[in-house]
């Protein structure tokens, strides 16, 4: 297949993953023959669809140690985050008006919080430590009597660090504060057991875990029961929390993807970790390379690396044989470096010079070796073009330079 041969090597698994063929196979019959509406109670088409939806609900619940009745289908983690945060804030408005989150959260959480601020809520955006992890004491100090909800992600989408949600959740539980966790990047990478974790609400996505795009779930704890005000009104589906006809094929895909994730997690993590270590060993002799985020408290799938004195977009252009993403948003009109790297306190140069390389189920050792060789070659070429590299070699500290920035 020529089209595949010409395609870049996919190293952007944190953006989305291909649907596992085993998942696709389970989905297809629900598009053609078993196409019923799971809400149809009057015939076999509906009953079959409902049974398939409930099987999938049990598969998702099984992976994360939840009761199937605690899983609400949504269109994805962004909707789950919106439902959890706005739903809780609106329902519990009488109790308080303060929420807490982390500056390195996904935009689905940050922009939802901004919207609540416009509605009159107060939000604290906590700064992580330079390694990306939230300090427990910092978190405790931010809690107020009027705090109703805290939202902290499990695995960061840009730098892959794993927050200690067990400890953070315990603090919330003690004070009667709802705890929401965006776990979009976690299933199949980090073991999750909601039967023991003090978490009230957790967001999931299918397409980060080899399932289809456009489907996700929100875990809503039953004991103690968590109340939410719904965002979408209609037929009263999903216990009234999320109306709308359930997309059976998508749901079946998410169920099968999560079942596979549970089956493969241990083996896959070990394999990906070996590939990650191979990459790190490969670039170990490069100068001025920085890993963003903690190396230990991190999923092995994520490498976020700054190649100092090389600009991210030109580096992406140089490595067009690799499908990776840049920590610099230069391709947009904003020229803003990643909010995550900025929150870690990284300098603008380092934030602009970063690449996010994320590995997954279909990454091979050959892919890694190719990527390492290409990066070494292109970084050296771009540094030969870089006045900042020149200055670095001359021993000039860039922070002492008066930059004649033009009018932008």
């Amino acid at each position: 297949m020529t089209s595949v041969a010409q395609s870049p090597i996919y190293l952007d698994y944190a953006a989305t993953t291909p649907v596992d063929p085993r998942v696709a196979e389970k989905m297809i019959p629900h598009l053609t023959s078993s196409f019923g509406n799971p809400a149809s109670r009057s015939h076999a088409y509906g009953w079959q669809a409902e049974a398939a939806v409930e099987t999938a609900r049990a598969q998702v619940a099984e992976l994360v140690g939840a009761d199937p009745r605690e899983i609400i289908w949504t269109s994805g983690a962004t909707e789950s985050d919106n439902l959890a945060i706005k739903g809780a804030a609106h329902f519990h408005r009488a109790k308080g008006n303060h929420l807490i989150t982390l500056a390195t959260e996904h935009k689905a959480v940050l922009d939802t919080m901004r919207e609540l601020e416009r509605e009159g809520f107060q939000v604290t955006y906590l700064k992580p430590q330079p390694n990306g992890l939230l300090d427990l004491e910092t978190f405790k100090a931010a809690l107020r009597p009027e705090t109703i909800l805290a939202s902290i992600m499990l695995v960061n989408n840009e730098i892959g660090v794993i927050q200690d949600i067990a400890a953070l959740g315990a603090v919330c539980r003690e004070r009667g504060i709802l705890f929401h966790v965006d776990a979009a990047q976690a299933p199949g990478k980090v073991a999750i057991d909601l039967s023991t974790l003090p978490v009230d609400l957790m967001s999931f996505s299918a397409h980060k875990t080899y399932g289809p795009q456009g489907i996700g779930a929100l875990y809503v704890r039953r004991r103690p029961r968590v109340h939410l005000a719904p965002l979408i009104h209609g037929g009263g589906h999903e216990r009234g929390l999320r109306s709308g006809t359930l997309p059976t094929h998508q749901i079946v895909g998410m169920g099968e993807a999560y079942r596979l994730a549970g089956e493969l997690m241990v083996e896959e993590n070990a394999r990906v970790r070996a590939l990650r270590d191979r990459f790190l060993a490969g670039i170990a002799d490069m100068e001025e390379v920085y890993l963003n985020g903690d190396l230990e408290q991190r999923v092995p799938h994520n490498l976020n690396v700054s190649f100092n004195f090389v600009e991210g977009e030109s580096l992406m252009m140089a490595v067009k044989e690799l499908a990776v993403s840049s920590g610099s948003a230069c391709t947009s009109a904003s020229l803003e470096p990643s909010h995550v790297l900025r929150a870690l306190g990284r300098s603008d140069e380092l934030a602009h010079s970063s690449l996010r390389i994320t590995l997954g189920r279909y990454t091979t050792a050959q892919d890694i070796d190719f990527a390492v060789a290409l990066l070494k070659d292109k970084v050296a070429r771009l540094r030969a073009l870089s006045p900042l590299w020149d200055m670095h070699l001359q021993g000039i500290d860039l922070n002492t330079v008066q930059w004649a920035a033009a009018a932008h």
Binding site: E311, M317, T331, L335, P337, A384, L385, P387, A404
Partner: protein, 134 residues
Amino acid sequence: MAYSDKVMDHYENPRNVGSFDTDESDVGTGMVGAPACGDVMRLQIKVGPEGVIEDACFKTYGCGSAIASSSLVTEWIKGRTLEDALTLKNAEIAEELALPPVKIHCSVLAEDAIKAAVEDYRAKQGTPAAASAA
């Protein structure tokens, strides 16, 4: 983002990459932009006794369009007088490279780099910039 063939050509085969000794009296150096903005251009010119740019070179930290813009102007200003080089406008660079609107600032930076290099050269010569610009 799709780049034009000309941007790709200058990016893949940049012209006149290098450095001149900034202390030489016939060299003018212009460094514009800032790491915080994601672009830093250093353009250098070597000026002959007749006020003609005999040689030019650059180094750029920035996106492909920034690299291409600086590479292009080194080609364009060689052989021109200082006055003539100063008439070069960013719009000409943007048009030649078919830069999209979000990349226009790269061409602006290249124009600024020429001005800064000429200014540096003139300052070294002790020529009042206002007199020669008139």
